[in-house]
Amino acid sequence: MLNAIWAVMILVAVLYGAFTGRMGDITNAALDSAGEAISLCITMAGVVALWMGLMEIASKAGLIQKLTRWISPFLTFMFPKIPKGHPAREYIATNIIANVLGLGWACTPAGLKAMEALARLEAERGNPEYLPEKPDPSAGKAKVTGAAGGTGSDAGSRRASAEMCTFLILNISSLQLIPVNMIAYRSQYGSSDPTAIIVPAIVATLISTLTAIVYCKGKDRGGIRS
C-alpha cells in the first residue's frame, strides 16, 4: 500500500513541478525535508522514551495486568458469546489496554493473536468455513467438492464472525487516551501548549468509540433476529 502512495507522491510532485516550473523549489524541499525528519526524530525520541519508560514501570508494578482485569465487564458486554476462560478474551483485553495506553508495539501482536483465537473459536463452534482442512494446495480444490459434500466452503471464503467485526471496529474507532505522538509533533513545531489537545482528543475518541459500540451492538441484535 505504502509503495503505491509513496511512488505516486514523488512522481506527481516532480511531474507537476516540471509543469509549474518549480523544480528548484522541489530540490530544496527534498533536501530540507530529509534534515527536518532527523530533527523531528530527536524530539520524538525524548517523548517516546519517557512514555515507554513510564509504561515499563506500570507493567512491572502489575498496573497493566490489573487494568486488563478491570475491563472484564466491558468485554462481557461487547463479546457476550465468547466463553469466560477462552484465550480470545485475554488477547482482546491486552490489545484494548495497550491501545488505550498508546503502546503501539504491544497492540498489534496481541490483536493478531486475538484474531487467530477468534478463528479457533469459530472452529470450536463448528462453523464449517473455519474447520481445519489438511493443507494440500495442489489438490485442495478438487478434494473439497468430494469430501465436504457441498456444504463446506474452502478457507478462501471465510466470513468474519460477529466478534471479529466488533473487535476490529472497536480497534479502528481508536481507543488511545493520551496521543503521545501528536504531543511530540506539536512541541517540535513550536506549539505554545502541546498538551492542550489531550482533553479534546479524549472526548473525540470517546465519541468515535461510542459510535462504534452502538453500531456493533445494533448489528449484533439484528444478527440474532435474522
Binding site: M1, I26, A45, A204
Partner: protein
C-alpha cells in the same frame, strides 16, 4: 474553552505521579525499570527514522510543486463550508490507508499553519481519535484468514466519520 486546555495541562503530571508512585509503593525498582523502557522507546524511534525521512521528503516535494495549492483551490470552497480547511483533505484520504504517510501530511500542516492554528488543532484531535481503516483491516483479517469482512468497513467508516465531526466541533471550541 480555556478549561479544556487547563485540564489537559494536568493530565501528564498526574499520570507520571501516579505511575511512579504506584511503582515505588509496589517495590518496583522504578529508576532501573524506567531506563529499560526508555531504551526500548529509543529503539522504536530509531526504527521509524527512515520512514519519516522517506515520507517527509515526499510530502515536502509535493507541496513545493504547488500541487497542494492547486488541490486546495479546487476543494477549498466546498470543504470550508463544513469546517474542514482544504489542507486537511489529502490527510483525510491518506489516513484511511497508511498512518505513517498521514504523519507526513500532519507535519506539513503543522509547518505551514502552525500546530495552534485552527487547522493544526483540528489535525491534532483528528489524528488522536481515529485509526488507519484499511491497513488495520487487512492485517488483522489476514491473521484469521478471513476474506468476507461483512459490516466491519461500514462500522469503521462510521466511527471515523463520528470522530471527524467531533474533532471539527472541539477544534472550533478551542480557537
Amino acid at each position: 474553552m480555556k478549561a479544556l486546555g487547563n485540564l489537559s495541562g494536568i493530565v501528564i503530571p498526574l499520570l507520571i505521579f501516579f505511575i511512579v508512585g504506584y511503582g515505588y509503593v509496589s517495590k518496583v525498582k522504578v529508576y532501573e525499570t524506567f531506563l529499560k523502557g526508555a531504551r526500548d522507546g529509543l529503539k522504536i524511534v530509531a526504527d521509524i527514522v527512515p520512514t519519516l525521512i522517506g515520507l517527509l521528503v515526499a510530502v515536502g516535494m509535493l507541496r513545493a510543486s504547488g500541487f497542494f495549492d492547486m488541490l486546495g483551490g479546487f476543494l477549498g470552497p466546498v470543504t470550508e463550508a463544513a469546517g474542514l480547511p482544504a489542507q486537511l483533505m489529502p490527510l483525510l484520504v491518506v489516513k484511511l490507508f497508511s498512518s505513517s504517510a498521514a504523519t507526513g501530511l500532519v507535519l506539513d500542516i503543522f509547518r505551514t499553519s502552525g500546530p495552534d492554528s485552527y487547522a493544526g488543532l483540528l489535525t491534532s484531535i483528528l489524528m488522536s481519535c481515529t485509526e488507519t481503516v484499511f491497513y488495520t483491516m487487512s492485517v488483522y483479517f489476514l491473521a484469521a484468514k478471513v476474506t468476507k469482512t461483512r459490516y466491519t468497513l461500514t462500522g469503521a467508516l462510521l466511527a471515523t466519520a463520528a470522530g471527524t465531526v467531533a474533532s471539527v466541533f472541539l477544534a472550533r471550541m478551542m480557537v
